[in-house]
């Protein structure tokens, strides 16, 4: 009798233990991870997967495992909205993404409606800057980048005419970027901006596009396109012996650009908010783990995606109530990132120092090389 009772007791305890096992925290991810233009999404996906395994190996969120639900939006705004709905109904605590501004613009309203936090690693449109919504992001908005690029152009090139290639496949981003750039350049009345729009989803002849550029005869070229298109434009320019300074938006700063541009990419200038040669131990660990797992260096999308999950992890560790996640982030304001702290405004925009250490990157010998601050801010020898 006694032994039987002990057995029953033991089984009950086991069942109770199983019942008490902590449920995982579900986090959604939306990005373009298939087809042309998936390079950004695949990098972000790699970053977030690495972050998941890294954090789960360290007891997850207060002992609860992080479960990722990954969704491909194929850069389609409608599909993005559908995925927000679907992930919300699955009970995710937050969604990391969307990655592009067009998708983000489409998703914001649905997220607001469903009170689900969007934490985008890479969407930078200024249309969402300072808006009290449910959209938060890791990367600074376009205006931050365009302001610095405008300053660089005016300092280093002093052009009269600037041609800007604009890819309409991600119009929310590219057009916003262009508008912001245009606004920044409006301070210099003598400069003319020539927008050269195309949609990379269509059959595109880069030869023809660059031909058009030749006719316009600008003093420099600004690329508001993805990495592959940027590379192919550079190739055409080189073939046509158009030796013009090229400045590109951060979207094109991918390994695709390096692969496809070859020597034609040499000297292209980017501006990024983070430091690839940073020596913070957490960043070095991240970099090492990434290389070990994916056999390549992490890019800004992987980096930001990793940080996006870090922020959510820290906020939920402070207050496990998933419904108060947005409130917790706003209240906590400052979080640990890979290269220092990340601060958020109450509207969910990352706060950067008024005079940050600006990071100009140039392509040299087939790699991205950080050259530091603008000339005016560089230390004089």
């Amino acid at each position: 009798m006694g032994k039987r009772f002990q057995c029953l007791w033991f089984i009950t305890l086991l069942l109770l233990a199983a019942a008490c096992q902590k449920q995982p925290v579900k986090i959604g991810f939306i990005g373009c991870i298939t087809g042309k233009g998936s390079d950004l999404g695949l990098s972000a996906k790699n970053g977030i997967l690495l972050a998941r395994d890294y954090l789960n190996a360290r007891k997850g969120i207060n002992g609860r495992e992080i479960e990722l639900i990954i969704r491909d939006n194929a850069m389609d705004p409608d599909k993005t909205v559908e995925e927000v709905k679907s992930l919300s109904s699955q009970g995710v605590a937050a969604i990391i993404g969307p990655l592009t501004s067009t998708a983000a613009m489409a998703a914001v309203q649905e997220a607001e409606k469903r009170k689900i936090l969007l934490m985008s690693p890479s969407a930078t449109t200024d249309a969402l800057t300072g808006v009290d919504d449910w959209f938060f992001r890791i990367q600074p908005p376009n205006s931050y980048e365009t302001r610095n690029i405008a300053a660089y152009i005016m300092e280093e090139i002093k052009p009269k005419k600037i041609a800007a290639f604009i890819d309409l496949s991600n119009s929310s981003y590219t057009l916003n970027w262009y508008e912001s750039f245009k606004k920044d350049m409006s301070f210099f009345r003598e400069v003319t901006l020539i927008p050269m729009k195309f949609d990379s989803r269509d059959e595109v002849s880069y030869f023809s596009m660059v031909r058009g550029l030749e006719i316009e005869n600008p003093d420099c070229v600004v690329l508001i396109v993805n990495g592959l298109d940027a590379a192919l434009i550079c190739q055409q320019m080189e073939k046509m012996k158009m030796d013009l300074p090229v400045i590109s938006c951060i979207w094109a700063k991918t390994k695709e650009f390096i692969y496809h541009a070859g020597t034609s990419g040499e000297g292209v200038i980017f501006f990024q908010h983070y430091d690839e040669d940073n020596s913070e131990p957490s960043y070095l660990t991240f970099k090492e783990l990434y290389r070990e797992r994916y056999h390549s260096n992490p890019d800004y999308a992987a980096h930001s995606a990793f940080e996006a999950l870090m922020v959510i992890h820290q906020a939920l560790s402070l207050d496990p109530d998933e419904k108060r996640l947005r409130e917790t982030i706003v209240r906590q304001k400052v979080f640990q990132g890979l290269q220092g702290t990340i601060s958020f405004s109450p509207q969910g925009d990352p706060l950067y120092d008024a005079s940050p250490e600006k990071k100009l990157v140039i392509v040299k010998n087939g790699t991205f090389v950080t050259i530091g601050a603008l000339k005016s801010e560089r230390k004089q020898p």
């Binding site: 991870i33 298939t34 087809g35 042309k36 998936s38 695949l42 996906k45 790699n46 997967l49 990954i70 491909d72 002849s205 880069y206 030869f207 592959l228 590379a231 192919l232 190739q235 055409q236 080189e238 073939k239 390096i258 692969y259 496809h260 541009a261 070859g262 020597t263 034609s264 990419g265 797992r293 994916y294 056999h295 390549s296 087939g366």
Partner: protein, 876 residues
């Protein structure tokens, strides 16, 4: 049936043995099957994965064959001259035939696109140096090189670039890898069996779920570790988020890819899982069978043992019948025979035991007393009593056993209970035999003296029981008393001469003084007051001396039981010396070395004086009477005393603790001494070496007995012709008030007492005493009524009751004793104050009268201090 019966145990062992065997067989068989099935599954999966690899390899080879031909053509033609040349036509055909071949590019030594087919203006002339696979160190051999896989910008499918070196130039063929999906689809087996291919970075390039390929999923993200490169083939079980999987891998050399075949272990080892319940059922069936058969076999096997066990039970109950167990197994038969032998042995031992018991019972019942066993508790609860109990106590054994009617403790005289308890516990503590003499109350015959000897029975170091023997020594005690009396008479005889001489002197003194006074009176010779006072003082001194002698004689002639009291042994010794030195033969030199301070002991003064006088008389005899006629009479008698702590040797000799405080007295002489034989017998009663009528032979025996009753010891050392030395030890009392000091501190009370005519009735049959006391009391201001006997006393009291405040009455009087007179007076006045007086020490009658209400006792001759102290106490 008991759980641990032999049958149960055998059944259990039978089952355990059976189960262990079957479990062993099951485990061995099952593991064999497991190994076999696992081997088969591994082999099958490796076969599948190798098939897939072969298919993939064939596909790639087939696809690359025309490209290699093209390279040869290109090298021969040196360049494409136009759409009409053979190489161009071949290329068109090759691309058209196999759409998987997406594009062919030739780059020059600077990695610029020299030729591209299908033609692409955008690409022609492009710099390809950004592609690391293109810029790899050019191999002089014509070995093909494979790029990392990538997603084609045009098709969105995974693609690879194959480089065909040709001198300084390189031909690059872009191959769509979508076809690999068809191969992995073909390899799908069952519900979970599937093949997939990864590139050298672990990225999926073919998978039944094409979405995963599109998403560039890395197998690490699926929880599958990356395989080691260049390992030909292997199979292992991996735990993934979807459960355990059996994974076989094979290396696809050209691109550094790996082909996997993965299957859920549940499906892969389904045969094994299916077989498991059969094994389990088999095991249960076997277990049930084992229980049933085991019961049957064991029941048969243990039947003879059961019978034997039944016979043993009967034997245990005392039924020693012949063991009737038929022949069965050799061991059981031997056991049966041994058991029968044992029964016989038990029977014979039982008979011997009965005989022993009978003998012991007879012996015990014939003993002059009883043997006992009791619990060591307050009541001495008896658990065994021999037959002698009835005559010893008047109670049947049943009445005393377990205190049913009376406890042994209640039989012990009230005054002796504490002593008995203390002495027994002391002995038990030291694990010693004890010997006791005490009184018990017989059911019918009143008090009885008994002697008891016993010893503790210990369990776990604690004395739980006491066993011993008790015998009635009342008669011996009576005889002892008689012997003591005889002794006293003997001593009196010895002392009489000296005493007569003393008395003569005293009386002579008184008579002389009186004669002088009478003579002076007759002759009218005037006497001065001073002269009269001197004569009276002489007479008083003589009377005091006489009174002292009488007191000592009275002490010696006491017939009362010894009464122990605190006393100063030094004082007692001085008394003895005073008495003894007057009677001593003149030929003897008497030396004393006595301790000057008080030596307090507890004892009976009279008896101890008797002991010391005995020893001194013996010593004096040894130097006078016992010497031969021709020997010189006399010698030296030395008496010493001192308090001390026992040395180790002394303690050992007496069975005491070293350091115990004792009083030691030695009486030594230089007399005839003793040989060892005599010395060994001197404490025996009626043993004497003196001539007839010189001694009874009781002196030393009695002395020894008295000393033992005082918890002391008496030792003798002697050498023939040189003398003897008797040493007496008595325990010292340490916590006592100083007895002698108390005596000395008494005041001269009589001087201070003055009456105011209060009436005192003085009753004594001795006229001199009565009249003398009357005068003395009256001098102190009291009115004294006198009576010469009890009757007169009662009469006077009846008449003068109102005026009589105190009655002083002798106890022994003619016609009506003091006790009777007191009772009559008390009847008249319950508040009557009567002080008793007697020349005897407090005896039973005096105690009784005191208990009934007499207020005090005066020892005669009357000490005036005591007298007036009593008067003051009761009248003022």
């Amino acid at each position: 049936m008991k759980e641990n019966s032999l049958k149960n145990v055998l059944v259990r062992y039978f089952m355990i043995a059976g189960l262990i065997s079957i479990l062993f067989i099951v485990i061995v068989t099952y593991s064999g099957i497991v190994t076999k099935i696992r081997g088969d599954v591994y082999e099958k999966n490796i076969l599948i994965v190798n098939l897939a690899r072969g298919e993939a390899q064939r596909y790639l080879d087939e696809m690359l064959a025309p490209v290699e031909i093209l390279r040869d053509l290109w090298e021969e033609e040196s360049s494409f001259s136009g759409e009409e040349d053979f190489a161009s036509r071949f290329m068109q055909k090759a691309l058209a035939r196999d759409p998987i071949l997406q594009q062919i590019v030739v780059v020059d030594e600077k990695y610029r696109v020299e030729m591209v087919y299908p033609p692409d203006r955008d690409l022609l002339g492009n710099d390809m140096s950004g592609h690391t696979y293109v810029t790899l160190k050019r191999d002089p051999s014509r070995q093909l090189r494979w790029s990392d896989t990538f997603i084609s910008g045009k098709t969105g499918n995974p693609s690879v670039a194959v480089l065909l070196p040709m001198g300084k130039k390189t031909m690059i063929a872009y191959i769509d890898l979508a076809y690999l999906n068809e191969i992995v689809d073909m390899m799908a087996i069952g519900k979970t069996g599937m093949a997939f291919i990864i590139d050298r970075k672990g990225t999926l390039i073919a998978h039944p779920d094409n979405r995963m390929v599109q998403e560039r999923t890395n197998i690490v993200d699926l929880g599958i570790p990356q395989p080691e490169l260049n390992v030909e083939q292997r199979t292992r079980i991996v735990s993934t988020a979807e459960g355990d999987k059996i994974i076989s891998a094979s290396y696809l050399a050209p691109g550094g890819w790996t082909i996997f075949f993965m299957q859920d272990t549940k499906e892969a080892f389904a045969d094994l899982y299916r077989a498991f319940p059969s094994f389990l059922i088999g095991l249960v069936v076997y277990t049930l069978l084992a229980i049933i058969l085991g019961n049957i076999f064991v029941s048969r096997t243990v039947q003879p043992i059961t019978k034997l066990s039944s016979a043993a039970k009967n034997a245990a109950k005392g039924e020693y019948r012949q063991v009737q167990v038929a022949d069965s197994y050799t061991e059981i038969d031997e056991l049966r025979d041994s058991f029968a032998t044992m029964v016989e042995a038990v029977l014979s031992r039982e008979a011997a035991l009965i005989e022993n018991e009978r003998m012991l019972s007879t012996l015990l019942s014939n003993l002059p007393g009883m043997a006992y066993r009791c619990v060591n508790d307050e009541n001495w609860t008896m658990v065994f009593l021999s037959d002698g109990v009835k005559s010893l106590t008047g109670y049947e054994a049943e009445e005393l056993l377990l205190n049913k009617v009376k406890a042994w403790g209640d039989l012990i005289h009230e005054e002796d209970r504490l002593m008995v308890y203390k002495q027994i516990q002391d002995s038990l503590e030291e694990d010693k035999t004890f010997e006791l003499v005490y009184r018990i109350t017989h059911k019918e015959d009143g008090l009885k003296w008994i002697w008891e000897k016993g010893r503790g029975i210990y369990k776990g170091g604690r004395p739980l029981f006491i066993e011993g023997f008790v015998t009635d020594i009342t008669e011996l005690k009576e005889k002892d008393k008689q012997i003591q009396n005889i002794q006293k008479i003997e001593i009196l005889g010895e002392l009489a001469g000296g005493l007569a001489h003393d008395f003569n002197n005293v009386l002579g003194g008184i008579a002389g003084t009186l004669s002088i006074m009478k003579l002076k009176r007759q002759k009218d010779i005037p006497m001065e007051d001073e002269e009269i006072r001197r004569y009276v003082q002489t007479i008083e001194n003589a009377i005091e001396r006489a009174s002292s002698i009488v007191q000592e004689l009275l002490t010696l002639s006491q017939q009362k039981e010894p009464v122990k009291e605190k006393l100063d042994f030094s004082e007692l010794l001085y008394n003895v010396v005073r008495i003894f030195e007057n009677t001593l033969d003149k030929s003897i030199t008497f030396k004393t070395d006595l301790y000057p301070g008080p030596v307090i002991i507890e004892g009976d003064k009279t008896q101890l004086e008797q002991v010391l006088l005995n020893l001194c008389i013996n010593a004096s005899h040894a130097m006078t009477l016992m010497r031969g006629n021709h020997e010189t009479q006399g010698g030296t008698l030395t008496l010493t005393s001192e308090p001390l702590h026992l040395s180790r040797e002394e303690a050992a000799r007496q069975g005491r603790m070293p350091g115990e405080p004792m009083a030691r007295v030695t009486v030594s002489d230089t007399g005839v001494g003793m040989d060892p034989e005599t010395k060994a017998r001197i404490f025996e009663p009626f043993f004497t070496t003196k001539q007839r009528y010189q001694g009874t032979g009781l002196g030393l025996a009695m002395a020894d007995s008295i000393v033992k009753r005082h918890n002391g010891s008496l030792w003798v050392e002697s050498e023939k012709g040189k003398g003897s030395c008797f040493t007496l030890y008595l325990p010292l009392l340490l916590d006592h008030p100083d007895v002698r000091t108390a005596h000395l501190s008494e005041d001269e009370e009589s001087e201070k007492v003055t009456g105011h005519g209060e009436g005192i009735l003085l009753v004594d049959d001795e006229t001199i005493i009565r009249e003398t006391l009357k005068e003395i009391i009256e001098i102190h201001g009291f009115r004294v009524f006198t009576a010469s006997d009890g009757e007169e006393a009662v009469r006077i009291y009846q008449k003068e009751r109102a005026r009589i405040s105190l009655v002083i009455m002798d106890m022994l009087m003619p016609r009506l004793s003091g006790e009777e007179a007191f009772l009559k007076m008390k009847k008249m006045n319950p508040e009557v104050k009567v002080v008793l007086a007697s020349g005897f020490k407090k005896d039973e009658r005096i105690s009784r009268t005191l208990e009934k209400g007499a207020i005090g006792f005066l020892q005669k001759p009357v000490d005036l201090k005591n007298l007036f102290s009593l008067i003051k106490e009761n009248i003022s």
